[in-house]
């Protein structure tokens, strides 16, 4: 048996080398799942972590710690001085920023460290808080831990409502994409102590440039995302109808250069959920379609002119133009070309169903 000593040596080495692997036993670590950053004095930042303290046979109890330092990692060190177990970042699923920080200092340096950390997934959610992140994270919402709770809210609003798809991966994809402005959902803690999704904030060079309220999100999703599912009410002469969008798509086409002209075709398939008029006959359905198309046209045009004014491009017209035009002048895009851009919106609404009552 020549092989036996070999195998034994191998085993000894593997046993010895296993000391080099960092161990983190599940119940001996602080599983941070929410992290918030706030403005503090212009030099330092204030970070708040929230982690669930899991107890047998009852919902987890959230605990928060706050620390101050110049960078994110050093903040975690500051927080580690207060906790019983090492703080780990692997189960973070929500990172939020206080509005003041996002407006004054910018958030790029902070997000960047998550981007580099291999333990942190790229599908974590980022958000901006109306108010301070510390206050927001200290709240107690539902039976889940706060980080998870917020992540669930964002997730279901993407899937079933009118928040465009967003996470850290998409944020950075938009950020590094020339000719597109990244965005984050805007959240706040209501007086009643709940979390509410209040709109979308747009970031220019890591700082908030503009935000839109929740009512406009539907139209923004129509312009920027492929699939939109949301409810919208339409007033016609015959009565008011609420239309649930079940499928939507948008298609850009370049009509003309110098000055740029882009046509956006928006197709919406929807069903009428509710109608308070007299009778819902084919002609009323037609007028609902027409009316809805008009609303989409107006709202989208308004959004686009607003973006042009603020010199942000979250829909990605610049990116689109770059793919269509050879030697596109990206340098002057936001400052000059974007302002002269004219967009032609052609909405097409089809009501496919009006419910089971005939």
């Amino acid at each position: 048996m020549v092989r036996l000593p070999k195998i034994l040596t191998l085993f000894m080495f593997s046993a010895a080398l296993s000391g080099c692997v960092e161990k983190s036993i599940l119940d001996d670590i602080v599983l941070v799942n929410g992290l918030g950053f706030d403005y503090c004095d212009g030099v330092n930042i204030q970070a708040t972590v929230v982690y669930p303290d899991y107890l047998p046979d009852q919902p987890p109890k959230d605990k928060t710690f706050t620390g101050r330092a110049r960078m994110k990692k050093t903040v975690l060190q500051d927080i580690s001085r207060q906790t019983t177990d090492p703080v780990v970042t692997g189960s973070i699923n929500t990172v939020v920023f206080g509005r003041e920080l996002a407006e004054k200092q910018g958030i790029l340096d902070l997000v960047d460290s998550f981007h580099r950390d291999p333990r942190v997934g790229s599908t974590i959610f980022l958000g901006v808080i109306d108010g301070t992140a510390k206050e927001f994270l200290k709240g107690k919402y539902g039976i889940r831990s706060t980080g998870e709770h917020v992540a669930k809210i964002i997730e279901h609003n993407i899937k079933h409502e009118d928040l465009p798809r967003t996470n850290m991966q998409r944020f950075f994809s938009d950020y590094y994409q020339t000719g597109k402005t990244p965005f984050m959902p805007l959240l706040r803690k209501t007086e009643a102590g709940n979390v509410e999704l209040t709109g979308i904030s747009f970031f220019k060079y890591g700082k908030i440039a503009d935000s839109i309220p929740a009512e406009k999100m539907f139209f923004f999703k129509l312009l920027s995302d492929k699939y939109s599912e949301g409810l919208h009410s339409v007033k016609t002469k015959e009565g008011e109808a609420s239309v649930r969008d079940i499928r939507s798509s948008h298609n850009f086409s370049l009509l003309q250069q110098n000055p740029l002209k882009i046509r956006v075709k928006i197709k919406v398939n929807g069903i009428i959920d509710e109608f308070n008029g007299e009778e819902l006959n084919p002609s009323t359905v037609k007028s609902v379609e027409k009316e809805f198309e008009k609303i989409i046209y107006e709202e989208c045009m308004e959004l686009i002119s607003r973006f042009q004014e603020k010199e942000i491009d979250p829909i990605g017209f610049g990116q689109f133009a770059k793919t269509q035009i050879r030697n596109f002048d990206m340098e002057n895009w936001l400052s000059t070309l974007y302002k002269d851009l004219s967009v032609d919106i052609k909405p097409k609404v089809t009501i496919t169903e009006t419910g089971v009552i005939e």
């Binding site: 296993s18 161990k23 119940d27 692997g90």
Partner: protein
């Protein structure tokens, strides 16, 4: 090996003969009785070992004839005796061997050179009973017994064909155990038969008491944990594998037959798979495959994720895991080893004790120890569930030996999971895979049809396709006649409206 055995020496016959007599005289159950034929006045002596001889044959068939019929010379005895195995010989080797197998030696006074030997063997055989290791709900309920003759009968009855060849060999320097090699000529690849024959002939060991001895001695890699010959207690399974072109080895005194060559996937197939509809059989095989991988990997994955990869655990599960682990004073590996060892203890205790006590042990162990250790805060209940399921899953293996293998290979994987996390598990699996790839059964690849990939053989491996699809015999056996039937001859079933 040094030859220590006196019966091997061929020279000095007289001397040796004397020693035989002397040695036999020492045994209290050796008898030598003299009689006189009243008609011819010839005296004759019957020598036999009392405990091996059926007295009924001796007293009711042999003695009356010997005393009543006329005979003068020993050659005439052959015509008188109404027994099938009567021989006149002077080969002392043969005499000795037969005497020790329950034959009776007849000598006539005055003729010291020729002997008559006739068989009056007493056979103590238990009845053919239900298969216990490979029980099946459907199908034949016969299992092999300890007698080679009976076992051959069970197989021959199923395959009444002249091509079924039974070769007999004697192995074991002291035990002189009879070993039969069975194969169907014209189907089997003779290379396999030659390999088996040669390997069995070369066995040098004093006693062969069961086919497991032979299995361990003639395996290609006898250090491997994986059984490279399949043992079966079902004559129907053996008959079916013979028709595929395999070789069966039966050992006298062993209620199991060995089937060679075999593959890993065959170890996970039960004969009942062929008795069920093919969809059901395939489903059961897939379930087994899942059960085996679960049994091997569940505990190591638990230890690895808890100790190293907390970020892989779904968020909703985190609470359950952390809460159940919270009060446990041990690291995950000790907790897992403690429970695994408990299960092993229960298994071993259950196997060693008589059936009725064994069941009690199972219940006591399973319920009492499990619950108590969770209540005492020694183990987490999540792990208890995982380990209990893993143990249950390992019992789904239809071949007992591979079940034992699975029982053992969990431990190195578990230790490596503790050392290096998921990486360790994969290192371990790589070693396992390398070992399996190198393994052969009678020189045929053990992982076939997975590697080398054989598309046709896959039909009866992980799945079991209908019999119409199994028109060929397994390729790795290199059968002389590769086709079971010609698929083009298959008649199409008539549709109802035709």
């Amino acid at each position: 090996m040094k030859k220590l055995f006196w019966r091997r020496k061929k020279k000095n016959n007289d001397n040796r003969d004397k020693r035989l007599e002397d040695l036999l005289q020492k045994s209290k159950d050796f008898r030598s009785v003299s009689y006189k034929n009243p008609k011819t006045q010839i005296s004759f002596t019957l020598s036999f070992i009392e405990t091996l001889v059926d007295e009924k044959i001796l007293h009711e068939s042999a003695l009356p004839k010997l005393l009543e019929e006329k005979f003068h010379r020993i050659e005439e005895v052959k015509d008188i005796l109404p027994l099938s195995e009567v021989e006149i010989t002077n080969d002392k080797d043969q005499i000795e061997q037969k005497l020790l197998n329950g034959s009776v030696l007849l000598t006539i006074d005055g003729d010291k050179e020729t002997y008559c030997i006739f068989s009056a063997q007493k056979e103590i055989v238990r009845n053919v009973t239900l298969p216990e290791v490979e029980f099946s709900v459907l199908g034949p309920k016969e299992a092999f017994v300890e007698s080679l003759k009976h076992n051959l009968n069970l197989i021959r009855r199923r395959l009444p064909m002249k091509e079924l060849i039974t070769e007999k060999l004697t192995v074991g320097n002291l035990s002189q155990t009879c070993v039969a090699i069975l194969y169907i000529e014209g189907i089997v690849d003779m290379e396999n038969v030659n390999t088996v024959r040669q390997r069995i002939k070369e066995i040098e060991f004093d006693e062969i008491s069961d086919n497991s001895y032979i299995l361990q001695m003639i395996s290609d890699n006898s250090h491997s944990l994986f059984p490279q010959l399949l043992d079966s207690e079902r004559p129907d399974r053996v008959a079916a594998t013979l028709t595929e072109g395999k070789v069966a080895i039966l050992v006298d005194g062993s209620p199991h037959a060995l089937i060679a060559p075999t593959t890993l996937v065959e170890c996970f197939s039960s004969f009942e798979d062929y008795l069920l509809n093919w969809t059901m059989a395939s489903f059961i095989r897939l379930i087994r495959l899942f059960a085996i991988s679960f049994s091997v990997l569940a505990t190591p994955l638990y230890v690895a994720t808890i100790s190293y990869h907390y970020e892989l655990i779904p968020e909703d599960l985190l609470g359950t895991l952390v809460a159940s682990r919270g009060a446990i004073p041990f690291p995950p590996i000790l907790e897992a080893l403690f429970l695994e060892l408990t299960i092993e203890l229960l298994r071993e205790a259950g196997a060693r004790l008589p059936t009725k006590v064994g069941q009690t042990i199972g219940i006591v162990g399973g319920i009492v120890i499990g619950t108590a250790s969770v209540e005492a805060g020694l183990t987490s209940n999540v792990l208890l569930i995982i380990i209990a399921l893993a143990a249950l899953a390992s019992f789904t293996t239809p071949v007992y030996r591979i079940g034992n293998t699975i029982r053992l290979i969990r431990f190195p994987i578990l230790i490596f999971a503790e050392l290096w996390g998921l990486l360790g598990i994969f290192i371990c699996l790589c070693f396992l895979m390398a070992h399996l790839l190198r393994l052969t059964s009678l020189g045929r690849p053990y992982l076939e049809p997975l590697y080398p990939p054989r598309q046709y053989d896959l039909r009866d491996s992980i799945l079991r396709l209908p019999f119409t699809a199994l028109y060929r015999r397994p390729q790795y056996l290199r059968p002389k006649r590769p086709m079971r039937f010609n698929e083009r001859d298959l008649k199409k079933k008539k549709d109802i409206d035709e």
